[in-house]
């Protein structure tokens, strides 16, 4: 038993929240120089576990050992003092400051000294960052590199990466992996949180798989295949969605021409001459890294942004201009929208599900003489819960009490109940567990098969290739021409996501979708 001492050792860590047991006797060992994946669905307890390691949540029971010594990590400050760093999924950078200035807020030293250290670390770990550049002009990848640099310059022994690839285009992911390997070769332990199996299999030495707050296995991901990992992660097999031939009479339902839009926020992406059309019985996918104008595009389609036709922008529904209508008016004509933020936009967090039904369906017989018909509203909520198999406490459960996946199923069901002609869905399965994601995708395909026009905005290429008929790529407010999914592959779409729209046409023609 001459094993080296683990950098971090958790034993029997347990944390209960009112409604769930987030961590149930979790064990975790991270060795120096190891890239250790923590794999699990949303709600499996990964985040809670990381918060415990980083000191922002105290466990109810269990022990934490750091270099063989028992420790009680009481705060993130204490974790950083021990040598534990964390790179969060959501960045905390000041847009108006430079990279070096942002880093100086967390790391002692003058700007000049730090710039020197930043350049050195950039070179050593392949983290391409210009210390004097302002954050506002940077891409998401660059911003993430600043976060990582900020973490590295505090000389941690262990770095926790919370879903770091979710914001990166495919090429950026490869670059991140190189950096992480370089860090590991310096003896730094890395905890890599993800639910993307291919990434974990490509990068990690060990994977701790979690399900329902428990550790269900510690495996070598390089020898496991995706199916066995999935089975471990969700406890059952998931059938891929069935995708029939294109249906409907194929007439154009939604058509956008010459859409230009300059948001009030000077740092938001400007939409430039966007053209798209969605036909009956097809799913159009808009691929692209978030922040390239998808938000403004979906708002313009759903009516949250009302367009002035004198600027040449036109949105037509079956030949009728609808650009001047608000969300209510467009919904009445059959244009429905599922936003990516579920809590606070798609649903009111503190309202019950029954109340949340009223958000988009208040015209459909649920209101009489200006008064709500509470019985009907409640009935519609329970019907939606039944048809979508939403796991919740019933129509009186608050939206915030549901898991992300269940709430998304509820919202999707609510919009489907309106029998849309056009359904626009932004990141429909973002942060949703595998089972719910499969159910939601199947519902979207079913809607297409019934002849509706469906438009999906997603940054998950796997999802787009799985369910879409045609793809357009969004980059810096511009939209590429549409290509058929069958005539392109993930690599070429990835290049287009980085701005090279011509790559879409360079793909080998009539190739079967390149997804295993």
């Amino acid at each position: 038993m001459a094993e080296p001492t683990p950098l971090l050792r958790l034993r029997g860590v347990t944390k209960a929240y009112p409604a769930v047991l987030a961590n149930d006797a979790v064990d975790l060992d991270v060795m120096p120089g190891e890239i250790h994946a923590v794999l699990g669905e949303n709600g499996a307890g990964k985040s809670t576990l990381m918060k415990i390691i980083y000191g922002s949540v105290r466990p109810d029971a269990g022990t934490v050992e750091w270099n063989g010594q028992p420790v009680d990590i009481q705060s993130p400050a204490m974790a950083r003092e021990l040598g534990i760093g964390m790179v969060f999924q959501h960045f905390s950078l000041f847009d108006t400051l430079t990279a070096a200035e942002n880093i100086s807020l967390a790391v002692p030293g003058t700007i000049a000294e730090l710039s020197e250290r930043i350049r050195a670390a950039s070179a050593q770990f392949g983290l391409d960052v210009e210390p004097g550049a302002r954050v506002q002009s940077m891409t998401v990848g660059e911003r993430q590199r600043i976060e990582i640099l900020r973490c590295i310059l505090q000389e941690p022994r262990l770095i926790i990466m919370d879903e770091p690839t979710s914001v990166l285009p495919p090429q950026g992911i490869l670059k991140l992996f190189e950096t992480l390997r370089a860090l590991a070769s310096e003896g730094i332990g890395i905890v890599f949180i993800s639910h993307k199996l291919d990434e974990i299999r490509a990068l990690c030495d060990t994977a701790t798989v979690m399900r329902g707050g428990r550790v269900v296995g510690v495996v070598d991901p390089r020898v496991e295949d995706a199916q066995s990992l999935t089975r471990m992660m969700i406890g059952r097999e998931i059938a891929p969605p069935t995708h029939g031939a294109e249906r409907g009479d194929r007439h154009t339902v939604l058509e956008v021409t010459g859409l230009n839009y300059t948001p009030e926020d000077p740092f938001a992406t400007v939409l430039k001459d966007v053209h798209l059309s969605v036909r009956s019985g097809e799913i159009l996918g808009i691929a692209g890294v978030s922040g390239n104008g998808q938000d403004a595009l979906t708002r313009a389609l759903a009516g949250e942004i009302v367009l002035r036709s004198d600027k040449g922008s036109s949105v037509m529904l079956e030949g009728t201009p609808i650009g001047a209508l608000g969300p209510d008016g467009r919904r009445a004509l059959g244009v429905n929208f599922i936003p990516e933020e579920r809590l606070g936009r798609g649903a009111v967090p503190i309202h019950t599900l029954a109340e949340n039904v009223g958000l988009t369906t208040h015209h459909g017989g649920l209101v009489k003489w200006g008064f709500l018909r509470l019985g009907q509203r409640r009935q519609l909520a329970s019907d939606t819960i039944d048809t979508m198999d939403v796991r919740c406490g019933g129509p009186d459960a608050t939206a915030q009490s549901l898991s992300g996946g269940n709430l998304q199923k509820f919202i999707v069901g609510r919009e489907l109940a309106l029998r849309p002609k056009v359904l626009i869905a932004s990141q429909p399965t973002w942060g949703v567990d595998v089972g719910a994601a499969a159910a939601i995708r199947q519902k979207l395909i079913d809607l297409r098969d019934e002849g509706a026009a469906v438009l999906i905005v997603s940054e998950e290429l796997e999802e787009i290739f799985e369910i879409c008929d045609r793809i357009q790529v969004m980059f810096r407010g511009r939209l590429s021409e549409a290509v058929r999914v069958r005539t392109t592959d993930i690599n070429h779409v990835g290049l287009a996501m980085a701005g090279d729209f011509d790559a879409l046409h360079a793909a080998p023609v009539e190739k079967e979708a390149a997804l295993g």
Partner: protein, 364 residues
């Protein structure tokens, strides 16, 4: 080794607002005890003077009900705005303009016996309050001017307008230059409800508005839209609920209700327009709305409590000899303690003992 943790409540609790209000009242009593001790008054005797003595006589109860009417009206209106995150803190000014509006009619038609005069005054008062709040709504909706500042500053304007009117155009010509209007005739005042007290029929306005508020909040589409806009502006935008309409509606409702309260004063206990139309009802109404958990029924109880504190302050002056500034201090403590405890609306305190931690198998 037990310890206490603060954690999110798993579901919306009906009891939480009531608990928080009761806790705030309890803490206010404790704080008030120290205040009385500083004055050399036995705490229980002092609290008795404020909270119990007014209720011992018909007159005292009458005074409480009298002060409850305007507080109830104002708070019901404000609460609808507050739920929509529209912060009208100028109910005092809207009350004053409402009082002026009603008084204009009463003075103009002095001597009439028409039963239409009082309803006319009610409408004039509401319109006055709405118009005053409407200025803030217009500036907020068109220019995004902060309604907190605008409504607050308009209160000062309303006060100066009142001072001007009662010293000039609306002054009683036979009133020896006192800054007040003529006394209103019987057809311009609310009838007394309980003989021997000053309670008048304007209390029914307060109760009526409470019922309307309850229906509006719980059953109307407009009320639903307002509540969505207040707690989740993103969801309101997604649903297509107009935020401008919400601002207008919230301010017009609260302004109209405050204007009604103004009518209740000039056509009630005052019986004329004078410089002191309101002893700060417009501000106390904010406390009532918050203390009542922004719920129509909660506000009913909170307004009774706040009215009791108003009257109790006067009683305390007479019976135990503390200044009636006690009223303001108690109001302030109620609000402060309520806000301090309001994290319990969404959080709860739970005691953790080793036994309550679910057991997991210790790993090897």
């Amino acid at each position: 080794m037990a310890r206490f943790v603060i954690e999110a409540r798993p579901e919306r609790s009906v009891w939480a607002p009531i608990q928080v209000s009761l806790l705030a009242i309890l803490l206010t009593c404790i704080g008030g005890s120290f205040l009385f001790m500083a004055y050399g008054v036995a705490p229980l005797k002092g609290l008795e003077a404020v909270f119990i003595d007014p209720l011992r006589s018909t007159y005292g109860i009458g005074e409480v009900l009298l002060k409850m009417a305007p507080l109830l009206l104002i708070a019901q209106g404000l609460a609808i705005g507050f739920r929509a995150q529209v912060w009208n803190i100028g109910a005092e000014g809207q009350l004053i303009v409402g009082a002026i509006g009603a008084s204009l009619l009463a003075i103009q038609f002095d001597g009439t016996t028409s039963p239409l005069l009082l309803p006319g005054m009610i409408i004039a008062g509401m319109v006055g309050g709405m118009a005053w709040a409407g200025v803030a709504a217009f500036l907020r909706a068109q220019f995004n001017a902060n309604e907190i500042l605008v409504t607050f500053m308009l209160t000062s304007v309303a006060l100066q307008l009142l001072y001007y009117l009662v010293s000039g155009p609306m002054r009683d010509p036979m009133g020896f230059n006192f800054p007040q209007s003529i006394s209103f005739g019987p057809s311009a005042t609310f009838p007394i409800l309980i003989p021997g007290t000053r309670v008048n029929a304007s209390l029914f306005l307060g109760l009526g508005v409470t019922v309307l508020a309850l229906i509006f909040v719980q059953r109307s589409l407009a009320g639903y839209k307002l509540s969505v806009g207040g707690v989740a502006p993103g969801a309101a935008m997604y649903a297509g609920f107009s935020s401008k309409r919400a601002i207008w509606l919230a301010l017009l409702i609260s302004g109209g209700a405050a204007g009604l309260a103004g009518v209740g004063e000039v056509a009630g206990p005052l019986g004329m327009l004078q410089r002191n139309v309101s002893p700060g009802y417009g501000y106390a109404g904010i406390i009532v709305a918050v203390l009542g958990g922004l719920h129509p029924i909660g506000i009913l109880f909170a307004s009774a409590l706040m009215a009791l504190v108003y009257v109790g302050g006067d009683f305390a002056l007479l019976t135990v000899g503390v200044p009636n500034a006690v009223t303001g201090i108690f109001q302030g403590m109620l609000l402060t303690f309520y806000l301090a405890c309001s994290f319990l609306l969404t959080q709860r305190i739970r005691r953790i003992t080793p036994e309550t931690v679910p057991k997991g198998a210790p790993a090897e």
